[in-house]
Subunit: 376 residues, 2 copies
């Protein structure tokens, strides 16, 4: 919570939940990354929060951008960054979208299989490709499944195929898992990447870049290591696996750049019990899983919540959203401790909500409008 957000919310008199993002915090976060990893370019993961104000700020600070779609590429260009600062990082692209990106000047593409390489070769001839490899995501709060990437052994074939089709077999990318709380997680992935680089070398390829991905955590309830700690750990791992021939590196922070910059204000709509002797209260808010808090799925992310009655005695609550949908429940398996004195109409502040909230919101589920946002 920053003084600027507090002041903004004090003046706001509109109805309904809202997200307020303090751009000063985004700026500080960017500068911390730039300082902690001075030889690494920051490619902001636009999907985390594509608000024009965030993109313009980061563009002015010199950031590059990781885009998931042509629409995101266009937003970055509109924010004033040139196409040389954009990576089309989604490994799943329609060929006509690659052609659109190519026409807009984008030259760096992620792939993880031969079929995707062939699309890029046809639609963006001569482009640079990074092959994404699978990583095990141990220690991350939200492992990434096997959706993106291929086994490292296959990556060499993919890059060789790219080279054969006239593309630049530019390097390797990976992702150590979202909200990764172990700074040494990059070590294992870099060991795999180094092995791929060696095998590429044996086949006459000269990959030069490693995309270290995102996964940098934001603070929810548990403390997380500082960006500086991550920077040092990553640099040590690069040294260990690449010696004096450290490749060009980029990172793709999303949550790590904007997560702690945002606060959602919400209102308590109802507090009730299911029977006279129920020992858990149900607290219903005017925001839920469909209004922006999608990352509470499986209770993965446990946001810190401030109430106007903090300091009063606490008791466990099930926390649910306002829709007529029974899956619209945020915390139930692990009830959330909130003040016993909490009342209908109280305004709560949900912290750490600057990333993956506003654009996740449903169009109009149950007739509720999407989350209002303010970037100040």
């Amino acid at each position: 919570m920053t003084a600027r957000i507090r002041q903004f919310l004090r003046r706001r008199d509109e109805d309904g939940p809202c997200l307020v993002v303090d751009l000063e915090v985004v700026r500080e976060n960017y500068l911390a990354f730039a300082k902690a990893l001075p030889d690494t370019k920051v490619f902001y993961a636009v999907k985390a929060n594509p608000a024009p104000e965030v993109l313009s700020l980061l563009a002015s600070l010199g950031s590059s951008f990781d885009a998931a779609s042509v629409a995101e590429i266009e937003m970055v260009l509109a924010a004033g960054a040139g196409s040389e600062r954009i990576s089309y990082g989604n490994t799943i692209k329609k060929e006509r979208d690659i052609a659109r990106a190519h026409a807009l000047g984008v030259r760096l593409y992620a792939v993880d299989c031969v079929a995707e390489v062939e699309k890029v070769a046809r639609a963006a001839p001569g482009a640079r490709v990074l092959c994404r490899i699978l990583s095990d995501c141990a220690d991350s709060d939200w492992p990434l499944s096997r959706k993106f990437g291929c086994e490292p052994s296959m990556a060499v074939d993919v890059l060789e195929h790219a080279h054969r089709l006239g593309l630049e077999a530019y390097g390797i990318s990976f992702h150590v898992g979202s909200q990764q709380r172990n700074p040494n997680a990059w070590d294992r992935a870099l060991a795999s990447a180094a092995a791929v680089f060696r095998e590429c070398g044996e086949r006459g390829l000269t990959p030069s870049m490693i995309n270290l991905g995102g996964g940098f955590p934001t603070r929810y309830h548990k403390n997380v290591p500082t960006v500086k700690t991550y920077g040092s750990a990553i640099f040590r791992a690069l040294r260990r696996h690449f010696g004096n021939r450290i490749p060009e590196t980029i990172i793709e922070p999303g949550r790590g750049l904007v997560g702690n910059a945002g606060i959602i204000e919400t209102e308590v709509v109802l507090v009730s019990r299911k029977s006279d002797n129920d020992d858990v209260r149900w607290v219903y808010l005017d925001i839920g899983r469909f209004g922006g808090l999608a990352e509470t799925l499986d209770e993965s992310i446990r946001y810190p919540i401030r109430t106007p009655r903090d300091g009063d005695e606490l008791a466990p609550c099930v926390l649910a959203g306002p829709t007529c949908d029974s899956v619209d429940v945020m915390y139930e398996k692990q009830p959330y401790a909130l003040p016993i004195s909490l009342e209908i109409g109280d305004k709560l502040l949900i912290e750490g909500t600057g990333a993956y909230t506003a654009t996740y919101a449903s169009v109009a589920f149950n007739g509720f409008p999407p989350l209002k946002t303010y970037h100040i």
Copy 2:
């Protein structure tokens, strides 16, 4: 798949996934409900598909409507139904939203606790309230958790409180669980409702209505009983528990009215394997969990999928969406059998998608636009 949808899709040349709903099927579904339960009023659950075309059609057929929000109430009024045909069925309402609904003429409200009764008494004096009771949801594909409703023993107190505050303690509502495939599921809930009615009678209250809720299934892969079978089973249960004093009843079908009327057309963006000896292919579509297929959460709903290569040999696939989000995977624990010959660019048809798709879609997650819809 209907001939009208097939013809529409043949002519469509826009890019991107879309939902097409055949209003003729909605009409047939409505008439089937009206015939199967001739003494029961149909209150269409607007949230299932609030398209103006669906609402206007149902309004013209004489349907009533269950609304989850003031926005849905306004949509129903705009579709030509009067406020006497609207129930504000969400048990979680802001007091100022109740006041808005009251100002729009709505007289029937759902509650499940004393605090909600007090809001209704202040904001909609004299209104009719139905108290929702918990039900066990056995046999439903998607049990409803305990989010809505109270224990039947508490419902009597809630209704008595309503009566004391000048409201009409109008009756009981319940929901036997979404996609309920056992027509006898209503029997247990009606036994509870009858007990509440008896106890109300002993306290001098005269509840007169039972809202039998929704839960009527649509056909995905498994066959489901006909609406007529549900009608007979419900009528038998009403006779068993209420004898010759059967109360006024209403039902709230959503999925049962529109689910089978809709088809989503989608395109195969990528087919790949994670290693050379991977025995499961990954098939990536241009629609996923954030683009309208939210009900594939936990692989709950398994939609039937048609391909242009049906009849060819099948092999298991993981089916995933187009976003850079690792949870955007529809079927992985139970891979989906699709033709081995499936290729990038193939158009697939996802059946039974008329309910809970379009409005569930994200505003702009990863820059992808919400699902396009056509109601023909």
